[in-house]
């Protein structure tokens, strides 16, 4: 068995464990005329806009490109998620993140780092003002 497969197995096990730790794990279903993508939201790290397309980054490292704009993906998440599921935050015009994977915010560098618990790091850029608001939001949520 290759390292990647073993790692994937571990990811799935940890992801499933991680999903179990998240009390309201759900799926998001993105359906087109020709195919259907069903992703456990707990495994969805972030979504990045790419013009008329969006790239979904999963916690296992896989990337999926869908033919929907970020706003459309946001609407799907809003419609399909349960009321208690408030893990996704849209940052600016081009990014939706899963706040459960937020690892580090640096206002000076205007960077946000997401960690998928598997030592995988994803460094993303966002405006300083948006990161200030995100930082305040997270601080308020722990009070």
């Amino acid at each position: 068995m290759c390292k990647k497969c073993i790692r994937n197995l571990l990811f799935r096990k940890k992801s499933s464990t991680f999903a179990a730790e998240m009390p309201h794990a759900t799926h998001i279903v993105i359906s087109t005329a020709t195919d259907l993508l069903r992703i456990r939201t707990s495994e969805l790290l972030y979504i990045q806009s790419d013009g008329n397309y969006s790239t979904l980054i999963l916690s296992c490292g896989e990337a999926r490109v869908v033919t929907f704009q970020l706003g459309q993906i946001e609407k799907m998440l809003d419609a399909q998620l349960s009321e208690n599921d408030n893990n996704f935050i849209r940052i600016g015009r081009s990014l939706i993140i899963n706040q459960n994977y937020i690892f580090y915010i640096n206002l000076t560098k205007q960077q946000i780092v997401l960690s998928d618990r598997n030592e995988g790091r994803h460094t993303l850029n966002a405006s300083r003002e948006a990161l200030v608001k995100l930082k305040e939001f997270i601080e308020q949520s722990i009070q």
Partner: protein
């Protein structure tokens, strides 16, 4: 969900408390709307009733058909108030005209004791009797008294042929309209009197009867807090006579046998007056309401 988010904003997806998320209206169950609609309908109905229902106080006075005022509806109040209610003995009389109908009012005064009597012999004490009128009617087929009748505590007749009644219990006269009155039983228990007749006025409202023709009409009345007999001086229909009683301020009234039925009154000076035909055929069950000194 608005798309026009700028790069300096964040928005929590699916979170009601997010500062960027428009607030969702809480879902209201359908039955709550039904209750609200019912309450609104009831309130609206009450408001409409109060707004559009006219009362005598709200009625605009008319030029050509002025409504009767409170004072005009009780024209005899002043006369009743002027009666000697302490020393006078006898029957006070008063003539008036209502709706072109001449009426005579007979009021037995101070110490006059009311009762019912049966037969003509009983009413021949003219010195003692100050007011006498025929009371209940008798059947034309068997000459029995029409309706329930109690004489000095003894029931002589039963039945409901006429809804008006008069009860005399403990020297107190009560006039009313009812199909069943407990005063019938009370009269039997207390050596009282009871008879039935056509109802004419009930709580100030005229009672329609189906009798036709015109004749001298008489009524036993509750007016201005006193008991009186009011008689028309001209032949009148039941309807016109009843309306005249209402217009003169009668609160409750029942019919007394009219036409040529006999009557007797003794005024305050002791002068006696016969009414009706005294020399006609007498029936043993002819009843009279009598006031005596």
């Amino acid at each position: 969900m608005k798309e026009d988010i700028n790069d300096n904003e964040i928005r929590v997806i699916g979170h009601a408390s997010s500062p960027k998320r428009p607030k969702r209206r809480p879902k209201v169950p359908w039955w709550a709307w039904v209750i609200v609609a019912a309450v609104v309908a009831v309130v609206a109905g009450v408001v409409l009733l109060k707004t559009f229902r006219t009362t005598p106080q709200d009625t605009v006075p008319y030029v050509f058909e002025p409504e009767a005022t409170e004072t005009a509806s009780r024209p005899l109040e002043g006369w009743f108030a002027s009666l000697d209610t302490v020393t006078a003995v006898g029957t006070a009389g008063h003539d008036t005209v209502v709706n072109d109908i001449p009426l005579r009012i007979y009021v037995p005064l101070n110490g006059a004791i009311p009762r019912l009597e049966l037969g003509y012999n009983a009413i021949n004490e003219r010195e003692r009797n100050i007011l006498v009128f025929q009371a209940a009617d008798i059947r034309a087929d068997n000459y029995q008294i029409v309706g329930a009748f109690v004489l000095h505590g003894k029931p002589l007749s039963w039945g409901l042929s006429k809804k008006g009644y008069c009860a005399i219990i403990d020297d107190r006269v009560t006039i009313g309209v009812a199909e069943n009155s407990p005063l019938f039983e009370l009269a039997t228990e207390k050596n009282g009197y009871f008879f039935r007749q056509y109802p004419l006025v009930d709580n100030g409202k005229p009672v329609e009867n189906e009798l036709k023709n015109k004749a001298i009409r008489r009524a036993l009345c509750d007016i201005c807090g006193r008991v009186a007999v009011i008689a028309s001086q001209t032949p009148e229909s039941f309807h016109d006579f009843t309306q005249a009683l209402v217009d003169v301020g009668v609160q409750n009234a029942i019919y007394l046998v009219g036409g040529t039925a006999i009557g007797w009154s003794q005024d305050l000076a002791g002068n006696g007056t016969k009414m009706g035909l005294w020399d006609t055929k007498h029936y043993k069950n002819t009843s009279f309401i009598v006031w005596s000194k």
